[in-house]
Subunit: 232 residues, 2 copies
DNA sequence: CATGCCAATATTGTCGACAATATCCCGTTT
DNA sequence: AAACGGGATATTGTCGACAATATTGGCATG
């Protein structure tokens, strides 16, 4: 599995050193190199990434924004922990917001964008790596699909909340629980149904399908969380 | 009109000096002392609030989070501008999220909380100040109602997104457009219907009513925006 | 006169040091 | 032995200065 994940979704490329360290720490938390619940040492991380504490603290502020850490004044920051309740809460929001994104995308997505997304889906399914079950590429493909629809909504706040805030946490749950099971082919079918609804400009249906899709995904992860808990 | 607005909604009281300057600048932007589109001078604001640039920049990071300013790397920050498109986008999100909040509140709100909220509504309607049309108290009362329902959802992300991020902008639209018109009594009826639905544990209905309520509010503000544009 | 370039200026980003606060450890007390 | 208290330590918050980047104004050129 390829461990470097190119976040092509970051709207603006990292220009300042706070941006760079943010990307690094985001990745470290999502992939678990900084364990859930771990205390974050400002001086430690600053040294590790060869920056001073100022840009690191700027990065921490944004990490809090995307719910990857929790800060308490004068006491410091900890990496968030993954819980069943948190997952449910997160996916409840996703259902609402991505449902809305589908309705808007059905109105606003250009025909060419729709074609391109449909093609990307096919291409992704046929890809060697996906069939071999590399979870990294499954994850990237899924996120890509959702991002394109969200961006097509052209609602600034929606895009911001989903892509810049919530999705890092979504990926964290998936990566750390190793979600690479047999749901891939079913998810593909669901994706296809959604893009079809959008192509038909049927926002209501796309909304409904997306909600179901996310709900199914949630149940899948909840099951895994349950199993993990029983094992431990 | 009382110009000081006690933000009783801030979950944790400001403890650090960055917290304090954040509250001050938030208020300044929402109430228009820092005009929409105005450039933000870090050194200027820092002097004005008698702090160094470090805590001020911390505050700016959080102001960006609640969409009150827009930053561009190496170039600085500007106060956001109020536009019809932005308002529509904002209220689309509100409809979805507050609808969800209603569904959850219908499940989770304690009977005593419901009673208290109903009483607060009555009390608010009968209040001298409200009948005299002091927009400040109308605004506070409305926000209070919505906040209580949102908090009752007990969904951490929902609460965070609405109360800590979006609502400052909502208030900014309302305050700066001087929304103190005759919608107050109608809004009261709508509030009452919503709390009734919640009391009956009818989440579906509460959801629907809240969406309509927010939609009506949006149209009201859009009208005002239109009028203002024609005048100018 | 408009336009493009370059230096001077102003503003933002980063750094290291200090102050304020929390955390830890250990001795004392009941 | 457990609970409390107080000092030592570590960590966070804030400050002023410097470096890096944008912006401004004037000068030369077409």
């Amino acid at each position: 599995m390829n461990s470097t994940y190119d976040p092509q979704y970051n709207l603006r490329s990292p220009v300042t050193s706070a941006d760079r360290v943010l990307v690094s720490v985001q990745q470290a938390i999502v992939e678990g190199q900084l364990a859930p619940g771990a205390k974050i040492s400002e001086t430690g991380l600053a040294k590790q990434f060869n920056v001073s504490r100022a840009p690191l603290r700027e990065a921490l502020a944004r990490l809090e924004r995307c719910h990857l850490i929790e800060r308490t004044p004068n006491a410091g920051a900890r990496v968030v922990t993954l819980t069943a309740d948190g997952l449910t809460a997160l996916y409840q929001i996703r259902e609402e917001l991505e449902g809305l994104a589908c309705r808007l995308a059905a109105e606003r997505m250009a025909d060419e964008e729709i074609d391109a997304l449909a093609k990307l889906l096919e291409q992704h399914l046929n890809s060697q790596r996906v069939r071999e079950g590399e979870s990294y590429y499954q994850e990237a493909g899924d996120v890509d699909f959702h991002y394109r629809i969200i961006l097509a909504s052209k609602n600034q706040y929606l895009i911001n909340m989903l892509c810049d805030e919530l999705y890092f946490l979504v990926r964290m749950y998936r990566v750390q629980l190793g979600m690479n099971g047999p749901r891939v082919s079913r998810a593909f079918d669901e994706h296809k149904a959604i893009i079809n609804a959008i192509a038909n400009r049927d926002g209501e249906l796309a909304d409904l399908l997306m909600r179901r899709h996310i709900s199914a995904s949630r149940k899948n992860i909840e099951k895994k969380l349950q199993v993990d808990k029983e094992v431990s």
